[in-house]
């Protein structure tokens, strides 16, 4: 109850926007008996439309677990998760797959492109599962690849692309189904500093065009480029609204 009030007051303090993510008292427990591990303890978090938010924390802080729950890859042990105002916390595997398909876009550290498919075919993949008509798929895939600056690399296979280019293909794949939320899990972890900047610029552009982005990272330089930082420690939300400039003090402390 108290928690609901506090989130409500948070919402009032800024201008009104639709809430994309609302985590309410989420806990995640792994294992049974004596080997019980509390990965997330009673965490609550709200992300509104258009936010550009990074989740930080030491390893083991629960940031990956919370990412899995936000990404509908995992269900919380207790608590409620409203994604785009729908409670998805206890849905079945098939419904979750459907939600991942149409409401979420994923970008991973290891790109996870299919080696046998060209860039445009990789980007078309989510639309295959969404049942988009074949004629429409290519047009939308080309559009998405153009948005990430790869209009001239449509038919290259992943092994013919640089790491940065591969990650841009993965971003195009993540946005092609027009998700309400773009999730990135250490998106620059496998890139050098120059390509990291390329990829971060694309994220910034996408956010400016209205896409909500949540990113897990342990790199302060990356987090500093987002507009809000959520800090996890020991499975709890330690700070939910850090500003990028606060990060230096935090990293020291």
């Amino acid at each position: 109850m108290q928690n609901q009030l506090s989130t409500a007051s948070e919402a009032l303090s800024t201008e009104f926007k639709p809430v994309i993510i609302r985590l309410e008292n989420i806990s995640k427990v792994y294992g049974i008996g004596e080997t019980l591990v509390h990965a997330i303890r009673d965490a609550s978090l709200t992300v509104e439309q258009g936010e550009y938010c990074s989740i930080m924390g030491a390893s083991g802080s629960g940031k990956s677990s919370v990412m899995n729950i936000i990404g509908c890859l995992d269900r919380p042990t207790s608590g409620h998760y409203y994604l785009d105002r729908v409670d998805v916390s206890q849905l079945g595997d098939t419904e979750l797959a459907r939600i991942r398909n149409i409401k979420l876009g994923f970008v991973f550290q290891q790109f996870h492109l299919l080696a046998q498919l060209s860039a445009v075919e990789n980007v078309m993949l989510p639309m295959v599962y969404a049942g988009v008509k074949p004629g429409e798929r290519r047009d939308r895939a080309v559009e998405a690849l153009t948005k990430v600056g790869l209009a001239n690399r449509l038919n290259n296979k992943p092994n013919q692309l640089s790491g940065g280019q591969q990650q841009r293909v993965a971003i195009a794949r993540a946005i092609v189904n027009r998700p309400v939320l773009l999730l990135a899990d250490e998106p620059t972890g496998a890139l050098d500093s120059k390509t990291t900047q390329e990829v971060m610029d694309i994220f910034t552009e996408l956010n400016e065009s209205g896409i909500t982005i949540v990113m897990v990272t342990h790199e302060a330089d990356v987090a500093r480029q987002t507009r809000r930082i959520v800090w996890f420690r020991d499975g709890e939300v330690l700070h939910s609204h850090l500003k990028p400039e606060d990060i230096n003090q935090l990293a020291v402390s």
Partner: protein
């Protein structure tokens, strides 16, 4: 996601791994080809044997010395004699013709050429009963049989070997140093159960018994075999019954018969049973190789699931349901085995046609066998694809994505 998309997706993956896909298919190809070829060849052998027995003439019965149904394999007493055949002609009303025969192998000589061939002592009844015809000259008469005359009718292959293209009728050949006048040449009949009927010399039964083979039985003039034709198709059963009774009386039989009367149907049934069992055995052996091929498919699919764990995780993350993944892997397995099945069918059919071209075995290409073989190999894909596909479908996407 519809099934067409899944097929397209599976094909892309299989084409991307050409070597692996084709090696996996090879097991199914070999299995399927051998099933089809073995069944085809087995059926061909069955058909060939059946045709040969049918070519012996309609309504034919065979009287064979010895009890073919007896379990023990004893020395057969030489009790089937020419007099039995004569008694059948006189006393069995349902019989049309009776053709006793004795046979041996001897060397036949003409001038400086000789050939080892089958000598058959028969009566003129042999021609109508067994549906044989004389091509040139004439067959010998009952008079010749009575008079032990030294005349011979040659099979076409014997003529070819001894006379080449020159005329044989009117010439003399020697068998066991006895001179025979060639009076006719038989029409070509082809081979019967592996023995060449054209490589035969026909002489009067009495001449064969008295001059060539010698009388060896205390019961009379021993014969190797009696062919009997029933009056018509309806009297075959009656003829079998009456001949058995007559021979039992004549041989004073109280316990086991010392002869066997077989109808053409009996023989065909026996041939059918034997060659059917042979076909089944061949098919079973070939089936094992198909089964092993199926295990190969399962093996490769399991490897593929392990190898593509990350791909499966990614597909799940971007919205593939368990069912989508299950169907994708099932279809890959089915395509592998069905394509292997179809290729194997072509190879099997090719093998059958090759056998048909170089041997007298006209192996049948049965569409049913092909449908079954392709169906079975598709089914094998289904069966052996389930385990790997379920494993893939049930992968936890988080674990799958993290695996490196």
């Amino acid at each position: 996601m519809d099934i067409l998309e899944s097929i397209k997706m599976a094909t892309t993956t299989l084409v991307a791994n050409k070597l692996r896909s084709s090696l996996t298919m090879l097991g199914i190809i070999i299995g399927n080809a051998s099933v089809i070829a073995m069944v085809g060849i087995g059926q061909g052998a069955q058909k060939l044997a059946s045709e040969q027995f049918e070519s012996l003439g309609p309504n034919v019965l065979f009287i064979i010395p010895g009890n073919q149904n007896a379990q023990r394999n004893r020395d057969v007493p030489k009790t089937l004699v020419l007099e039995d055949a004569e008694a059948i002609v006189r006393q069995v009303p349902s019989v049309g013709g009776v053709a006793p025969q004795i046979q041996t192998r001897q060397s036949v000589t003409y001038s400086n050429k000789n050939t080892n061939t089958q000598i058959m002592g028969v009566t003129p009844e042999f021609l109508p009963v067994r549906s044989f015809n004389v091509a040139k000259g004439r067959f010998f008469s009952n008079q010749d049989v009575k008079g032990n005359t030294q005349v011979a009718i040659l099979g076409p292959d014997v003529v070819k070997k001894l006379f080449g293209n020159s005329n044989s009728i009117g010439e003399r050949v020697r068998i066991k140093n006895i001179s025979f006048l060639v009076i006719g040449v038989m029409e070509s009949k082809g081979s019967f159960l592996g023995s060449n009927q054209d490589d035969t010399v026909y002489i009067p039964l009495t001449t064969a018994a008295n001059r060539i083979i010698g009388r060896t039985s205390p019961y009379g003039l021993e014969v190797s075999f009696i062919s009997v034709s029933a009056k018509d198709a309806n009297s075959i059963g009656a003829a079998q019954f009456q001949i058995s009774n007559l021979l039992r009386l004549r041989h004073k039989i109280t316990t086991e018969d010392d002869f066997t009367v077989r109808t053409q149907k009996d023989v065909l049934t026996i041939v059918g049973t034997i060659s059917g069992a042979l076909t089944l055995m061949l098919a079973a052996i070939a089936g094992i190789s198909l089964f092993v091929g199926g295990i190969g498919v399962m093996n490769i699919m399991l490897v593929s699931v392990t190898e593509r764990t990350q791909e499966i995780g990614l597909r799940k993350a971007i919205g593939a349901t368990q069912q989508d993944i299950l169907i994708q892997f099932m279809i890959e397995a089915i395509i592998l085995s069905a394509a292997g099945g179809i290729l194997g069918t072509f190879i099997g059919v090719g093998g059958i046609m090759l056998v048909g071209a170089v041997t007298p075995l006209k192996a049948g290409i049965s569409p049913v066998a092909i449908a079954i073989a392709v169906g079975v190999s598709g089914g094998i894909g289904l069966f052996f694809g389930v385990v790997p596909a379920r494993r893939a479908a049930q992968l936890d996407p988080i674990v799958a994505l993290r695996s490196a």
